[in-house]
Amino acid sequence: MVNDVEAPRRAPRPKRARRAAGKAAQLLAVLLIVSFGTFMLSALLPGDPAVAILGEGHPPEAYEQVRQELGLNDPLLSRYVEWLSAVIRGDFGTSLIPPQSEVSSRLASAFPVSLQLAVMALILALVISIPLAMVSAYRAGGVVDRIVSAITFGILSVPSFVAGLLLIAIAVNQFELFPRAHWVRLTDSVPDNLYHAFLPVLTIALLEIPTFTRLLRSDLVNTLQEDFVLASRAKGMPSWRIMLFDAFRPSSYSIITVVGLALASLIGSTVIVETLFSLPGMGSLVVHAAGQGDLPIVQGAVLVIAVTYVVINTAVDAAYSIVDPRIRRAQN
């Protein structure tokens, strides 16, 4: 008899395809604007790349020659088109400051470090925050709720450099549980990589846990007052089932937004943690390059970070419609 049960009717194909195409066009437009903004950095930032290469006290002929080679005398728009077409081919140019190397290879080595740190830190933060939020919301205002609230407020007030230093002081110096100041690539050895990544990941995660916990807790508390939760209790559902299968999903919209934003911003902004643990990530790459006026690296890194932002935001938008069926209909 199960055969009688037909599949749910899906929206007609062409409509979906058109919507997807529309989304893609939108995404492309945003990326173009972002790339132009990144390119304009070179025009807006103080300092002259030719001066950065030659150093002070250069002969004027050499200066003219370098500007010619770099194409700095061409009109802005043609320089943009040239730069963009190179970037699309994966050529971000070479760094200005020695050791001169391909910007793309520098980015390719730094980006995975930052991405791994950000993703792992967020997963760890969620793994800790979700159960904490659930036990807090289960008896809102109860003892557990108040303890969790006090702890999260405490963590919230500790800056990451303090938390990182404390972790180093305790886990590295005192008990020698973890190594310090060393990074093993994921591709070299997975267990070694995870071992070395743990402390920096924990430091970043600690920063996010209070926000995640408090946000999800308050959304859960609201959802638990809904009639459908009462109806589930009237059906004899155990509390843990109601929490997991009734309350969690409708409470997850704001945390999805916040996790998406955190992921995007963490990729470029973990400088402090990267410095503390000597990690070769995007944050230290950008800060270092910016300090030296190494424009191609800054440009490339900013573009990569900006594109990551846009892509993650698009993913978050898509996630909403997966989580909330009512949005799916609104789009149809």
């Binding site: 199960v2 009688d4 049960v5 004899g236 989580v323």
Partner: protein, 335 residues
């Protein structure tokens, strides 16, 4: 005397609020036999919904909520039973239909899941068996294209359809007791009737005891064996439906029935109302709760609260100065 299926004695639910203690349910007693339908009527704030929820054990005692009294279902005291024992009864033997079918269905869960999760919670069923049974249940509550509805979400259904889903959900494990809390208040009038009739038929087929809670005497009349009228947390009068609609002793239900609009009354007839408002329970200083609005009020009513008493003709009544029947007067009518 047959042992009642549900035996409620002196049930009290008191909420501590910032303004003081509010006894939402203030000493309610009644018995419900298997297969019997009890209609509970009262205006907003009379405590009827809290009563339903307290019986279900959905009003959890806490720092701000106190529950006293006895709710005995088939020999088990629901208020004393362990949470596990109570959960085994809820949904399986005792089920509830709520007022607003949109907010009572989880917006992110497919219709079918609402049914299968109940079935699988209380019955040993495989996924496909549960699905098959769920589609049968949707069919039973006359939802067209049941198999397709199974995979839809609550917002894709009309209000009447949603309430049918709620009913299917409540009846999924063949309960012996159904508490329907204003099951049609959120629905259009035309749909109300369909849903109520469906509910009545299903209850009769299954010999299910039912508590039908409503603010509307018209809904209760013709669908209940007994009628109980609540005011300020107490049952002020209860009687067999036939007796009740023939004559009401308590001035409050009299006033309620007198204010029911009649289709055959002449045009521009001014609708009778019960003057005044329900009392503020947090600020109550004693006396009959209805005394400020009562046409027959005497000095004693303002000082003492009339006890609930059994009358000779099988009613319960809480009134010092009941209205004597004038013989043969019929106020109740079916909608």
């Amino acid at each position: 005397m047959i042992k009642p299926l549900l035996h409620v004695r002196d049930l009290r639910t008191v909420f501590q609020t910032a303004r003081g203690a509010v006894p939402a349910v203030a000493g309610v007693s009644f018995d419900l036999q298997a297969g019997e339908t009890l209609g509970i009527v009262g205006e907003s704030g009379s405590g009827k919904s809290v009563l339903g929820r307290t019986i279900m054990g959905l009003v959890a005692p806490s720092r701000t909520t106190a529950v006293h009294g006895t709710v005995e279902y088939d020999g088990t005291d629901l208020l004393q039973a362990s949470p596990k024992r109570r959960r085994a009864l809820l949904g399986a033997e005792i089920a509830m239909v709520f007022q607003d079918p949109l907010s009572s269905l989880n917006p992110v869960k497919r219709i079918g899941i609402h049914l299968t999760e109940t079935l699988r919670q209380h019955r040993e069923l495989s996924r496909s068996e549960a699905r098959k049974r769920a589609v049968e249940l949707l069919d039973m509550v006359r939802i067209p294209e049941a198999a397709r509805r199974f995979d839809q979400y609550p917002h894709e259904l009309s209000g009447g359809m949603r309430q049918r889903v709620m009913i299917a959900m409540a009846l999924s494990c063949d309960p012996k007791l159904l508490i329907a809390d204003e099951p049609t208040t959120a629905l259009d009038v035309t749909v109300q009737r369909q849903v109520l009739d469906l509910l009545a038929v299903l209850c009769q087929e299954r010999k299910m005891a039912t508590i039908l809670i409503s603010h509307d005497l018209g809904i209760v009349s013709g669908r209940s064996d007994r009628v109980a009228v609540m005011y300020a947390g107490r049952i002020v009068e209860s009687a067999a439906a036939e007796d009740f609609f023939r004559h009401q002793h308590h001035p409050y239900p009299r006033g309620l029935l007198a204010s029911t609009p009649q289709l055959d009354s002449p045009a521009r007839t001014v609708l009778t109302t019960v003057p005044g408002r329900p009392p503020d329970l947090a600020r109550w200083r004693g006396g009959c709760h209805f005394s400020p609005r009562c046409p027959n009020v005497q000095e004693r009513c303002r000082q003492f609260e009339p006890p609930v008493e059994q009358t000779t003709d099988g009613r319960t009544l809480a009134c010092f100065h009941p209205v004597a029947p004038k013989g043969g007067e019929v106020n109740g009518r079916n909608r």
